[in-house]
Every structure is written in structure tokens, then in C-alpha cells.
């Protein structure tokens, strides 16, 4: 422990230096004063000093360095401070003696491997023993006093990716393979491995023995996992597993910290993570300095857990200090919030936060609230921040406003296609009305009015319109615009009759911008009293929208519309107008009295024919508004029903977004048919293709009961025809229909025919099948 303290004070700051070339591997000497960096085009030794790395030696000598210098791996001997070994990409194993007097420090060259050598490893206690693992599937053990290998171990498989001597068992080493296996060998027995097990799917890139725990081996693979194996038992047992986000290139246990290990990845992810294997979901610490993949990591000293060195493809060498590491756990948000399908709300947060507020703030609507506490027994050896969360569930009231019945019923009953436009609108208006959603109902009605062919006016079938008595429907399509347009300037005339209003209107033209505030307030207060569906709904709408906060800007625009009733576009000098008009148009509330007068006025002012395109901006605003309010159902339904009339007005992405949200909702409510209909009717390519995805149906052979892997009608295992018609006993090669109860079936026509006359399964199994 003293040693450790002394080591970490030598150079205890994060620092780095630029290398000339990407590094493939690094290694430190035993006293943690120097580090060797090796790569395809680099082979240098740096000293770690107080104020940075200092280059000590360039081992890459010669005018045209050979491939023997192209290193895949390097290791510094932990006992003999002048001895290094490298694994070359051309298959050579090279040892280097720093004590050699000449510039070329190369000592031995072993060219026994036929393929790239991926790894070299010195024995931890035996000075002259070196082990190598190569792409050719062989591991070789060298005695450095001899010119060639003393033993060769055949993995009986393709490439060896890593070899590691056990820290505790003198004779044991582990080798990891490209095919996912890990083998344990006894160095004295080259004929056969002691044990083999499959650790990962795909290559196992690295392994590392625990420095203290005998028999713990960590492995990392291309399958993005780090696994810790207990080898002391009969079968290698996986005791921990950490799932990372990229393939694991290196794994190194952290000194003095039993459960910690560091990893870096082969691709895509450049960070170095230190994990507590007991907390596999979030890294204990992260070093984020590198700009390209980290290729080598090593703890500076076998008793110092605070300093980590790393080399990278970005041609830098870093010394990381633990106190500078980022701690993802500190940034992690220990709160979670989730809405249930029926408006229930679950909320988890730090316990400390929850207990503080529990007494003070009862959930207003939440009659029932269940705080649930999850405790994890705190482990003092874990240096993780201990987080205890409390989970609260707020259930919505049984018949509260947040119930979603209306959504389901609406979804089921709306008609989106198959009838003339006007009928669809009327139908949907009726549905909305019956579900007590007058605003929506009115919207449908208005849509019908706005977009129906004016030359062929629909009959005033609508209940709202009937309130207006003898007023011709022809005019009422102006209602929305008119009502809003006239609204604000009629404040003095509310009680007035038609005449007054008209006069006032005409006089009022010069005072457009006056006094909207008061009027707005009035309107909102007043509307409470209305029981007319049309208007009270619109009021609600407005209340939610809090439109009254900005009437000043909005209202004056109405004059323009009144003054130029036939203008297809709102004037350009008021750019806000199209935006505001839509939602606002709906939010005006008038007493029935007024509305009658207004409509009378409109009769005077408007030409009855406005092109449907005139309304497009308004409708677009309206759809936006509904979507904003969370009623994406309305937005999508209108979009589908209006079809081409409106589609061009709304940008593709928004449409797609609406569709996606609505489909998601429908599917959560298990309204599969409706969702499918929506998908079919949508015009976004991104949506329609949803129907083409995941269309595979997996079936088992009726004969051998095993999955039919091939797509034909013959089972490739038992070579029987799998789908035989229960009625005619012939193979079904076209449509096959089967009972989900007893799984018998056959040709569609045959089964239909059969079940007309019998309730029982044609196969005679006794099941009462149904065909619907």
C-alpha cells in the first residue's frame, strides 16, 4: 500500500502525448516509469514524468524497417526490466533487449508461426518463458534461452486471439479463439487442452485473469459482452456479465479493486470504461479523451488502481487519472416516469425526494397512491452511489376525464373511406356527437361544409345547423370565418339586433385595433352559460388554449377578411394571420342569439362560393391544433378523409409523425384492424411500408412438430407434406386456413364447406371449430 501511494504521486495528472502513428498495443514496465507503444509504424518507449511523457527510445531502426516491426501486440517483462516481446503482423515473434549496446535492440526472432501473431505473453514468474498465440490456430511456448519454441499447442481451430498466463496457477494459461471458445491449457501438456468452453458467440478478442481471485477469468467478445467466469468449479461458470455497446477489444482487471475491470472497444466506441461487474448497467467510470478507437489499455502499476494508460488509433498516448474520470452514474437520472394506457401514471424517483414531498402534496386526483420502495442491500465494498428509488403509482379515477374510452370508441366507429366525402363527415360528426365530443363533431360538420362541392350542397342534416332554423345552409359555410371575424368588434353590440350589428360593423372599420382585451374576457366568461354544443365546445377549446393572452395581435386581422371577403388569401402585410386564424376561428364563442345575427350578416357580406382551397390554411391550423392538444386521432382521421384536398398543405414529415403516433396509440389499445386500415389509407410511403414489414408467419410441421425452416409445404426434416387438407387429404399449396384451437385445417373452400354442415373439426379430433 505504501508503494501504491508513492507511485500515484509520481505523476498524478491526466496527460497525453502525440505519437507519430496509430498504436496497436502498449505495455508498462514493472515500476511504472516507462511505457512502450507499438503499432504498425511505431515502436517507442516513453518515460512518464511529472510534466508529461518523454520519448526515451525509438526501437524502430533501419532505413526501411521490415514487417517484423509491424506490431500487433507488445509486452514488457514484469521481472526483467530490459526485456520486451512483440507479436508481428507477419507472424514473427520478436524479443528485444534494451541492454544491448547497439541501436538495434532486437534479440531473438522466432518465425515459426505461419500467420499473424495476435498476442504475446510473458510468464508472470518464470523469467525465460514466453507464450504466443497466432492466427494460424497455434500457440507456442518459447524458452528465451533457446532458438526455437519448446512446445506447440494446437487449438484445433482457427485463430487464437489472446493468450494469458494464470496469475496464480504456475502451469495454467488461457487462450481465446475466433470461434468463440476459450481453452485452458497446462503448459506441460501440449497434446491436449485441459478444458474448453464456449464463452461468446463470435470471436473472443481478449481475456484476463483476475490478479487476486484464483480462477476468475474475464473475457470480452465481438458480441459486445464482457463475461466473468469462475474456473474453480467443474464447469466454467459465468458469474458476471456486462453488456457494452460495442465489441470488446481489451479487458483488464483493475488493481486492488476486486470487482472492477476496464474495457475498450474494437470499433465505433472510443471510450474506456471501468465497470463494477456487479453493476453491469452503467459504467463506474469513463475516460472519454480518445478521438478514435482505443487499442491498448494498461494499469500503470499492479498496486495502483488510480492510473490507467491507453494508446489509440488516433495516435495519442494518454495517462488517465481516476479522479478526472467522468462518472456516468452522477449524470444518470434516477427518475422514471411512465404513463399507463388508461391514464395511470407511475413515477419513480430518488427516495429522498419522494419522502420529503409525500406528506405535503397529495395528488389532487389520485385517490389511490401506492408508494413502493425497492431496496438493494447497500454493499460497502461497492463504490457506487447508492440510489434507492421510490415508485409511486397514480391511478386515474374510474370515470375521470383521462379515461380513454372515447378514443377506442371513436377509433372503432369512425369511417375513413368507402363513402362519399360528405357522408363520411356526417357519419364521423355523428359519432363524435354521440360520444359527447361536440367540438370534434362540429369540426367534422364544418369540414363537410367547407369542402363539399358548392354546386351540389348537402342537405342540412346536421343537428347544429338545425338550430339556426331557416337560415340557408349555403351560407353557413362561412360561419366559422365570420363568427371569428366579427367577434371582437361586436363587443358593444352583443345584445343588438341585426341592424345594429351591421351598422356597427360598417362604422367600425377604422377602429380595428381597439379594446380586444375586455371583449375577450367577456367572451370567456360568458360562454360558460352556453349549452349549445357548438359553442360550448368551442369555448372549452379556447380555455385550454389560453388564447386570450394574445388577442391584441390576433383580432384586428378579422377586418381584412370582412373587408375583402372574396380574397383567397389573407393579406400579406399581416403575416400572422393565416397562422392565427385557424385555431382562433374555432375558439370563438357566441351566444345563439349572436350567431343568428352573424349569419344574417354573413349573408349580406359574403359571396357564397369560396374555393375549398381558401380554407386550407385554416384547416391546416386546425389539424395542427388538434395534434398539439394530443388528439392526433382527429388530425389523422381528417387527413385521411380530406385526402388530396389537404395533403399538399401539410409537410410530409408532420404527416408521418401524426400517422406514427396514431398507429402507435391504436396498437397499444390493441385496435389492430383500425391501425391496419389507417396504414393502408395513409399516403406516406414511410407508413404504407409498415404493412410490408414483419410479414413472416412461422409454422411448425404438423407431422414432426418441429419448426418448418423452409418455406414450402414439405417439412425438410421428416420429408412429409406438412400442410395436408383435413377434408380432402391433399396437400394445400395455396391458401391454408386452420383452426387456432386444434390447428387442423385445409383448403379454404373445403373448410368453409365443411363447417357449414358440421361443428366439429374435419380431422375428427373432436374440437368444435368455428369459421368466421
Amino acid at each position: 500500500m505504501e508503494k501504491m501511494a508513492c507511485v500515484s504521486t509520481v505523476s498524478s495528472r491526466t496527460m497525453f502525448c502525440h505519437l507519430d502513428a496509430p498504436a496497436n498495443a502498449i505495455s508498462v514496465c514493472r515500476d511504472a516509469t516507462q511505457v512502450v507503444v507499438a503499432g504498425r509504424n511505431i515502436f517507442k518507449i516513453y518515460a512518464m514524468e511529472e510534466d508529461g511523457f518523454v520519448e526515451r527510445l525509438n526501437l524502430r531502426v533501419g532505413r526501411k524497417p521490415s514487417l517484423n516491426f509491424s506490431c500487433a501486440d507488445v509486452m514488457w517483462h514484469q521481472m526483467e526490466e530490459n526485456l520486451l516481446a512483440t507479436a508481428a503482423t507477419n507472424g514473427a515473434v520478436v524479443t528485444w533487449n534494451l541492454a544491448r549496446p547497439c541501436r538495434n535492440k532486437q534479440e531473438h526472432l522466432f518465425t515459426e508461426h505461419k500467420r499473424t501473431v495476435n498476442k504475446v505473453c510473458f510468464h508472470p514468474t518464470e523469467v525465460h518463458m514466453l507464450l504466443s498465440g497466432s492466427q494460424d490456430g497455434f500457440m507456442k511456448c518459447f524458452d528465451l534461452r533457446k532458438k526455437e519454441s519448446v512446445s506447440t499447442f494446437s487449438g484445433q481451430s482457427e485463430s487464437v486471439r489472446d493468450v494469458q498466463f494464470s496469475m496464480k496457477d504456475y502451469f495454467t494459461f488461457a487462450a481465446s479463439f475466433e470461434n468463440g471458445n476459450v481453452q485452458l491449457w497446462d503448459i506441460r501438456r501440449p497434446d491436449r487442452y485441459e478444458r474448453m468452453f464456449t464463452a461468446h458467440t463470435g470471436p473472443v478478442f481478449c481475456c484476463d485473469w483476475h490478479p487476486e481471485d484464483r480462477g476468475w477469468l474475464a473475457t470480452g467478445g465481438r458480441d459486445k459482452m464482457v463475461k466473468v467466469w469462475d474456473m474453480t468449479t467443474n464447469r466454467a461458470k459465468e458469474i458476471y456479465c456486462v453488456q457494452t455497446i460495442a465489441s470488446v477489444a481489451r479487458v483488464k482487471w483493475r488493481p486492488e479493486r476486486r470487482w472492477h475491470l476496464a474495457t475498450c472497444s474494437m470499433m465505433v466506441d472510443h471510450n474506456i470504461y471501468v465497470w463494477d461487474v456487479r453493476r453491469p448497467f452503467i459504467p463506474f467510470a469513463t475516460f472519454e479523451e480518445h478521438k478514435d478507437v482505443t487499442t491498448g489499455i494498461v494499469w500503470s502499476h499492479q498496486h495502483d488502481p488510480y492510473v490507467l494508460l491507453s494508446g489509440s488509433k488516433d495516435s495519442t498516448l494518454y495517462q488517465h487519472i481516476f479522479k478526472d474520470a467522468s462518472r456516468p452514474v452522477d449524470r444518470a437520472n434516477p427518475e422514471g416516469l411512465c404513463f399507463g394506457l388508461f391514464g395511470d401514471l407511475a413515477f419513480a424517483a430518488k427516495e429522498s425526494l419522494m419522502t420529503g414531498e409525500a406528506g405535503r402534496k397529495p395528488y389532487p386526483a389520485g385517490d389511490r397512491r401506492y408508494p413502493i420502495f425497492f431496496f438493494k442491500k447497500p454493499d460497502v465494498t461497492e463504490q457506487f452511489a447508492q440510489v434507492a428509488s421510490a415508485l409511486s403509482v397514480f391511478e386515474s379515477e374510474a370515470d375521470g376525464s383521462s379515461r380513454m374510452d372515447w378514443f377506442i370508441k371513436t377509433a372503432r366507429r369512425y369511417l375513413l373511406s368507402g363513402k362519399p366525402f360528405a357522408e363520411l363527415c356526417d357519419h364521423n360528426a355523428k359519432v363524435a356527437k354521440e360520444l359527447n365530443r361536440p367540438q370534434v363533431s362540429t369540426t367534422w360538420t364544418m369540414l363537410r361544409i367547407m369542402f363539399s362541392d358548392p354546386g351540389n350542397p348537402a342537405l342540412p342534416a346536421n343537428h347544429n345547423m338545425s338550430k339556426l332554423g331557416n337560415i340557408p345552409l349555403m351560407n353557413s359555410f362561412n360561419l366559422k370565418e365570420m363568427s371569428s371575424a366579427l367577434n371582437e368588434r361586436n363587443k358593444e353590440n352583443r345584445q343588438d339586433n341585426l341592424h345594429n350589428l351591421e351598422t356597427n360593423l360598417n362604422n367600425d372599420e377604422n377602429e380595428e385595433t381597439e379594446g380586444s382585451d375586455g371583449q375577450a374576457e367577456y367572451l370567456f366568461g360568458d360562454a360558460e352559460l352556453d349549452d349549445d354544443d357548438l359553442y360550448s365546445m368551442e369555448h372549452e377549446n379556447q380555455a385550454e388554449e389560453a388564447e386570450f393572452s394574445l388577442p391584441q395581435e390576433a383580432f384586428p386581422l378579422r377586418h381584412e377578411i370582412v373587408d375583402h371577403p372574396s380574397a383567397p388569401e389573407p393579406p400579406a402585410e399581416k403575416p400572422e394571420s393565416p397562422q392565427v386564424s385557424g385555431s382562433e376561428a374555432e375558439s370563438f364563442c357566441l351566444t345563439p342569439m349572436e350567431s343568428i345575427s352573424l349569419i344574417s350578416v354573413s349573408q349580406l357580406l359574403y359571396q357564397p362560393q369560396l374555393p375549398p382551397s381558401f380554407f386550407c390554411p385554416v384547416v391546416r391550423e386546425m389539424l395542427d391544433y388538434y395534434a398539439e392538444q394530443g388528439d392526433v386521432q382527429m388530425a389523422v382521421s381528417v387527413l385521411i378523409v380530406l385526402g388530396d384536398r389537404i395533403r399538399k398543405e401539410i409537410d410530409e414529415l408532420t404527416q408521418e409523425h401524426w400517422y406514427m403516433s396514431y398507429i402507435d396509440l391504436l396498437q397499444r389499445f390493441e385496435l389492430w384492424n383500425v391501425s391496419n386500415e389507417v396504414i393502408k389509407l395513409s399516403t406516406c410511403s414511410a407508413i404504407t411500408c409498415l404493412n410490408q414489414a414483419s410479414t413472416t408467419l412461422h409454422i411448425n410441421c404438423s407431422n414432426c412438430k418441429r419448426p418448418m425452416s423452409n418455406k414450402g409445404w414439405i417439412c425438410d426434416r421428416c420429408h412429409q407434406c406438412a400442410s395436408v387438407c383435413a377434408v380432402c387429404h391433399h396437400v394445400v399449396k395455396g391458401l391454408f386456413v386452420w383452426c387456432q384451437g386444434c390447428s387442423h385445417g385445409g383448403h379454404l373452400e373445403h373448410v368453409m364447406e365443411w363447417l357449414k354442415s358440421s361443428n366439429h373439426c374435419p380431422a375428427g379430433c373432436g374440437h368444435l371449430c368455428e369459421y368466421t
Partner: protein
């Protein structure tokens, strides 16, 4: 509208030209076609699935083993039992993996919509003027609801696909020129930009069809009966050639067969020589150790020599109109890696390999495909029956590795741990010509080339070689493309 997708109608309605004006047809075939114009009875063209391999050699469905049978059945039930599959049927183990991968790429969940996938297939195949694959996918493209306008040429397709043209071109002919700027221009094109996942899907499709085009030409695949050129009086849409000698003028079949027999007698012993060399290499490898510089020179020599290997007699074949409309810049072809000082750093497999790097990237962005490709590469690389011609129990790994590495060498990909001297020992000149042609400009492959290499070997072995070439090429292209993407990402 795609001319050769509906060629019959077009021919009839928009011209008064006779068939002979549109297509060069020899007198014999002209007689045939004239006869047929009146009746329009579809009849198969060509003799069996391959022009190079006698029909009777290709496994008859009734005679194949159970495994191949079930693979064929499966393929058939999916609607395709094309000639490619029939020829690959020599190697059922590979065929299974191939079909699974192709089915996944074209039909299963993936980032690109179905008609895009087929269109990319068309683009890729058209790069090599492979009318066989183009026709196949034109049909599929229309079937999944693709817009026929796109078939008028790349300019008829959406901007997004047009942008892919450049990548297609480079990837097909000079993949080493691919940089991260190419990737960036695809990924950052405002509303027409590709997502990374889509791009990976597209890249896999492009490389798949480039290399499949190599296979198609390399094995002389004939048009399927259900596609154009497969059944009418009309010659295959590789216009400029006649039906009967689509193999680039190899004269009468009988004559050739006669020649072949003579040749076989001449060259007997070829196999034995090859085996002897393999044995020698195996034995003496440890003794004589070439210096590092020597190794580098050997790689460079192979690389340069591969360039000197002439492809085909340079009777420049003009790309057929039908197919060339799918790509721009038809003059852009393979250029030798080390030509005209255009020096590109050698690609070191040890620094970016499929197993370590490519796989992870593909699997991350297009789940499961990495796995499928990995499997396919491994099967192709490791496939062996331990036979060479009539000899049993031969370890062919050295030969296979030489072929694989030779192809990668042509693409400038170097294995540090390989002695390129071996290639010279094992691959003779006519074989190199075949490999070079098939990989770099497959449309120039001739029947003569196919016949003149490895004359004593079985057809199934030659198909095996073709599989190796095709997969090695695909991996080489993928490596360059994926490296560029990786560089873009970091």
C-alpha cells in the same frame, strides 16, 4: 418504360424495323426467329443454365441428394429457382447460405424499402452490363410496385438513388478510391440524404450484385426461362451478340468439344504438377526464409503483374443500350491498382479486417446481416471436398488461400502474413487471366477463358473457384466501403 422488360410489345409497336435490324443475329438464328415471330411460342434459349457447362453436367433435380433437393424446393417455393441457384447447386452447403443471405437482403426487414432494394440490385448489375441480373430484378422491381419511370435510367429515379451512382461506380471498378468524403456527401444531402443504416444496406446490396455479376459471367449463366431473353425468339438482351455464340464467338459447339479432347490429352499432368508444387511449398517453407524486403517486393510484383494480365481480346464491347441506361459514365471501368503513378497506400488487412472491424460495423447498423455475411464468407473460404480433379484426400487450403489473396491483391489489399511468391507458384497464367477478367471486368469473360484454365478439373471445381472469386471480391469491396464509413464516423 424499360425496353427489354417489355421488349416484344415495343418492338412490335414502335418500329417497323425487323428484329434483325435491332440485334445482330446470325443466319441460323434469324431463320429461327422469323419462324417464331408469327406464332410466338416461347421456347427456352440456350442449352441449360450455363453456356460453359454442358446441361447434363449440371445436376438434374431428380438426381441430386436430399439436401440439395430441399434447398431447391425452398428456393422454388419462394418463387425463384434461377439458373444461378442451379449452377451453385454443385455446392449445396454454400447455396443454402447464399440463398438465405440474399433472401434476407431482398425480402426481410431492413432499412430500405423493397423497390429500392431491387433498384439498387439493377444499378449494381448494370455496372457490369449483366443483363441477366438486370432482367431478373426489373421483373421483381415492377412486382413490388416500383415506378416503371425509374427504369428509363438513373435520371428517372429519385435524387437519393442518383446520388448512389457515384458510389456504385467507384465500388464496382476502383474501390480503393473511396474516401470518407464520398460517404459524407451521401449522408449529408439534406432531404435526399441517406441514413447510415440505409447506406450499409445499399452497400451490401451493391457489393452483393457486383460480385454476383462476376459469378454470372464467370459461369456463363444463361437467361432464366421466365425472363426476357430466356424464352422468346428474341436473343438475350446482351445485344450485339447472337444467341448461339453469346460466349463471344466461340464457333460451333462440336468443333470446340473436339478441340477440348485434344487439349485434355496435351495437358494431362497439369494437376499433378500443381499438387507437386503445393507439396514443395508446404515442405520448404520453413527452410528458406525470404527477407522482409523480398516479401514486399513479391506483393508488389503480384500487384503489378496482375495489371499486365490482359483481360479479353480488347475488342471493346459497347455496352448494350438497354442495360447502360442504368448507369452513367459507361467508360469508367476497372483500372489497375498501381497504374500511372496513381499510388494509393496498400490496404493492410491487419489494420482493418472483416472479422474484427467490418463485421461489427455491419451488424451494428443492419442487424443479422453481419452474421449472415460472416457465415457466407467462411463457408466459401473453407469449402473443400479434399479433392483435386481425380485425386482424393488433398489439402487444398493453400490453393484456396492463394486464390483468395490474389484477388485481394488485385484490389491492393495485403496480408502481412502471406508470402505472395506462393501465388506465382500455384496460379498459372491462363488461370490468372480468368480471375482477373472475371473479377475486374466480368462482362469480358469468354467461354474460351473458362475452358483454358485448369483443363483437367471438374466443372463443379470450376464453379467452386467461381464462388471463391465472387466472395473474395465482395469482401474486398466491402472492406473499402466499410473502412470509408468507419473513417467518416470517427
Amino acid at each position: 418504360k424499360m425496353r427489354h422488360a417489355s421488349a416484344d410489345n415495343d418492338t412490335v409497336k414502335n418500329t417497323s424495323l425487323t428484329v434483325t435490324d435491332l440485334f445482330k443475329i446470325c443466319a441460323h438464328c434469324e431463320r429461327l426467329s422469323k419462324k417464331d415471330i408469327g406464332v410466338r411460342i416461347p421456347r427456352p434459349l440456350g442449352n441449360g443454365p450455363s453456356r460453359f457447362i454442358p446441361e447434363k453436367e449440371i445436376l438434374q433435380v431428380s438426381k441430386v441428394d436430399a439436401r440439395t433437393q430441399s434447398i431447391f424446393e425452398e428456393a422454388f417455393s419462394l418463387g425463384h429457382l434461377d439458373n444461378i441457384s442451379l449452377v451453385m447447386g454443385f455446392h449445396p452447403q454454400y447455396l443454402e447460405s447464399f440463398l438465405r443471405t440474399q433472401h434476407y437482403l431482398l425480402q426481410m426487414d431492413g432499412p430500405l424499402s423493397l423497390h429500392y432494394r431491387h433498384y439498387i440490385g439493377i444499378m449494381a448489375a448494370a455496372r457490369h452490363q449483366c443483363s441477366y441480373l438486370v432482367n431478373l430484378h426489373v421483373n421483381d422491381f415492377l412486382q413490388v410496385g416500383g415506378d416503371p419511370k425509374w427504369l428509363n435510367g438513373l435520371e428517372g429515379a429519385p435524387q437519393k438513388l442518383q446520388a448512389l451512382g457515384e458510389l456504385n461506380k467507384i465500388l464496382a471498378h476502383r474501390p480503393w478510391l473511396l474516401t470518407k468524403t464520398h460517404i459524407e456527401s451521401l449522408l449529408k444531402a439534406e432531404e435526399n440524404s441517406w441514413s447510415l443504416a440505409e447506406l450499409i444496406h445499399a452497400v451490401v446490396l451493391l457489393t452483393h450484385y457486383h460480385s454476383l455479376a462476376s459469378f454470372t459471367f464467370g459461369c456463363g449463366i444463361t437467361p432464366d426461362i421466365h425472363t426476357d431473353g430466356g424464352h422468346t425468339f428474341r436473343p438475350p438482351s446482351l445485344s450485339g451478340y447472337c444467341v448461339c455464340d453469346i460466349a463471344n464467338g466461340n464457333g460451333a459447339l462440336e468443333e470446340m468439344l473436339g478441340n477440348q479432347q485434344v487439349r485434355v490429352a496435351e495437358v494431362s499432368g497439369e494437376v499433378e504438377v500443381l499438387m507437386e508444387r503445393m507439396k514443395q511449398l508446404q515442405e520448404c517453407r520453413d527452410e528458406e526464409e525470404a527477407s522482409q524486403e523480398e516479401m514486399t517486393t513479391r506483393f508488389e510484383r503480384e500487384k503489378t503483374e496482375s495489371m499486365l494480365v490482359a483481360t479479353a481480346e480488347d475488342e471493346e464491347c459497347v455496352p448494350s443500350r438497354d442495360v447502360s441506361r442504368h448507369f452513367e459514365d459507361p467508360s469508367y471501368g476497372y483500372q489497375d491498382f498501381s497504374r500511372r503513378g496513381e499510388h494509393v497506400p496498400t490496404f493492410r488487412v491487419q489494420d482493418y479486417s472483416w472479422e474484427d472491424h467490418g463485421f461489427s460495423l455491419v451488424n451494428r447498423l443492419y442487424p443479422d446481416v453481419g452474421q449472415l455475411l460472416d457465415e457466407k464468407f467462411q463457408i466459401a473460404y473453407n469449402l473443400t471436398y479434399n479433392t483435386m480433379a481425380t485425386h482424393q484426400g488433398v489439402d487444398t487450403s493453400m490453393l484456396r488461400r492463394a486464390i483468395w489473396n490474389y484477388i485481394h491483391c488485385m484490389f491492393g489489399i495485403r496480408y502481412d502474413d502471406y508470402d505472395y511468391g506462393e501465388i506465382n507458384e500455384l496460379l498459372d497464367r491462363s488461370f490468372k487471366v480468368y480471375i482477373k477478367t472475371m473479377v475486374c471486368s466480368p462482362e469480358k469473360t469468354t467461354k474460351r477463358m473458362y475452358e483454358s484454365f485448369w483443363r483437367q478439373f471438374q466443372h463443379s471445381e470450376k464453379v467452386h473457384v467461381n464462388l471463391l472469386l465472387m466472395e473474395a471480391r465482395m469482401q474486398a469491396e466491402l472492406l473499402y466501403a466499410l473502412r470509408a464509413i468507419t473513417r467518416y464516423m470517427t
